[in-house]
């Protein structure tokens, strides 16, 4: 597992409370590791200071690859590899190549983007990650702040509490935590009651 790090975890149940809290924590100079939310919250990525994703650019490149692959393969087959005479029709019927070129463009872009998405987010079957709160996929927004030697733990906790966090706790998780195990939550959660 390697090195283990300490994190302060604050849970929020309303995005109207979460946004000011994010602002204050960042203004105080603490680094927010991540915020885990049950649904996409527009503007949260900007509030956290994340840059825009380039996934769509990757998709465009995959699409162009599909276009070129289709056009080169079909032209090569019909003009040089095996120029078959089909009813005396031209050997390079570009209009007739449009459907397959289009389909391959879409196919390459979609498959490439999904694979890239899974790679970037480290998503795959049997991948086990550390989950800071099991309601993070249900109805809580979970803010995770990394503790360093300069972090004043009590201050951060107090700040989260005063900014509307419904639950605050400290957890340890392995670095490279995406390889952590979510199926052993009892170890991390045993001191705490989960309020449903």
């Amino acid at each position: 597992m390697g090195q283990v790090k300490k994190y302060i975890v604050g849970c929020f149940d309303d995005e109207k409370v979460l946004f000011p809290a994010v602002k204050k924590v960042r203004a105080a100079g603490y680094k927010i590791q991540d915020v885990y939310t049950p649904m996409p919250i527009h503007g949260l990525d900007h509030a956290l200071g994340m840059r825009e994703t380039s996934l769509h650019t990757a998709g465009f490149i995959y699409g162009i690859t599909g276009t070129t692959t289709a056009l080169t393969c079909m032209s090569w087959v019909f003009t040089s590899d095996w120029p078959l005479n089909i009813g005396g029709k031209p050997h390079l019927p570009l209009p007739a190549f449009i459907p397959i070129t289009f389909e391959l463009t879409v196919l390459f872009a979609a498959v490439g983007m999904v694979l890239t998405f899974c790679y970037l987010c480290q998503l795959a079957p049997f991948v086990k990650k550390h989950h800071f709160h099991e309601r993070a996929t249900d109805d809580l927004m979970v803010m995770v702040i990394e503790c360093t030697e300069r972090t004043n733990e009590e201050e951060v906790k107090a700040m989260l509490n005063s900014n509307g966090a419904v639950e605050v706790n400290v957890q340890e998780a392995p670095v490279g935590w995406w390889l952590g195990r979510y199926d052993r939550p009892s170890k991390l959660f045993k001191t705490r009651e989960v309020a449903y």
Binding site: T53, L55, C121, R135, A136, D183
Partner: protein, 441 residues
Amino acid sequence: MSLLKYESTLREPLVDGDYSVYREVTYGIGQWNLNKTIGWGWDITNFVWWVGIGHAGTLISAILLLFRQGWRTGVNRAAEAMTIFAVMCAGQFPIFHMGRVWDAFFVLPYANSRGPLWVNFASPLLWDVFAISTYFTVSLLFWYSGLIPDFATIRDRAKTKARKLWYGVVSFGWTGSTKHWQRHESLSLVLAGLSTPLVLSVHTIVSFDFATSVVPGWHTTIFPPYFVAGAIFSGFAMVQTLMLVTRKVMKLDDYITLGHIEAMNKVIVLTGSIVGIAYLTELFMAWYGGSKFEYDAFYKYRIAGPYGWSYWTMMTCNVISPQLFWSKKLRRNVAFTFIMSIVVNIGMWFERFVIIVTSVYRDYIPSSWSVYYRPSIWEVGFYLGTFGLFFTCYFLFSKFAPVIAIAEIKHVLKTSGESFKEKMDVIEKESVEHFAHGHAH
């Protein structure tokens, strides 16, 4: 409550289908009543019908996403699932129609030991291979990438070990990280953007199977838009059939509301009318175009002749009956909608039957005209079998996966909740007289 308790009713069609396919594979295409003139019968009719049904799912999930139609979130996940299962059923027909099904991979352009001898890239039938397989793959990816966060929600609420393990595997270790959501949003948007022209291209290419030929009644330029409208029309009807049952059995009345049903009925009346205009345009062009064969195809062999009954079934089910949906009362009537959804699907099946059979059984040379075509029991059995496959897949999906897009519903409830709160704030600040003036009847 699960739809799986109706599983036993599916056994018979599935067994019928399996045995029919077994007969066809063992004894050959001769098991079907196709002949030299009528080379395409029930099989291709069913193929086009099933592909068409798939289109509604992509329309709801992709095109309505781009149009920012919030209501789609209630039905989109189940409709996407329907797309995938419908395309699976559709694929069976051309594959088994090949006769020697074990050689089906010959349609793929791979460096084979026969030269390599390549496929004909200029053939609409090959375009179909690419279109349908791309459509299936992209729909599957779109559907599954949307399901990942929802599977994670179920995983984290699971009580038993087996459920935790299973949903842990299928949720790919999703955590809900902000960065992941950012990428997920970008992915959904681009996939929706890709699926929109894709879904239009798929039925366009299916229509090219007919439109690029020289058979009377087929070689018309109206086919692509006409097929796409018909596909959406039949697809929405099938979504209604499935959703009304799902809603009833799984008690989802709060998620799939009368508003959803009404919105879909509006799409049905719109596309049904487009299809109606297409039928009339075809008839007009057959007369105006001045081609004797085209004229005969429509006026002698479609609206009249031995298959006239199928043309009039199509006209009644597709053009006349959906017009009843102009009435708001009927649009919001669940029982009526259910009956109409079946009527529309029967009508759309007959549309494909009319296009295929009435065009090929009489073409240019009277010596090759065919006798009356009726399907063999194995053709019917194969068709029934795809129903078994379709509903089995759908029931399994409704049992093991969320039929409602959980994360999207949360998002929509949140935003519409916000706008509701804002509206209420304004109302609360208004004076009583002003409010009464504005809202009293």
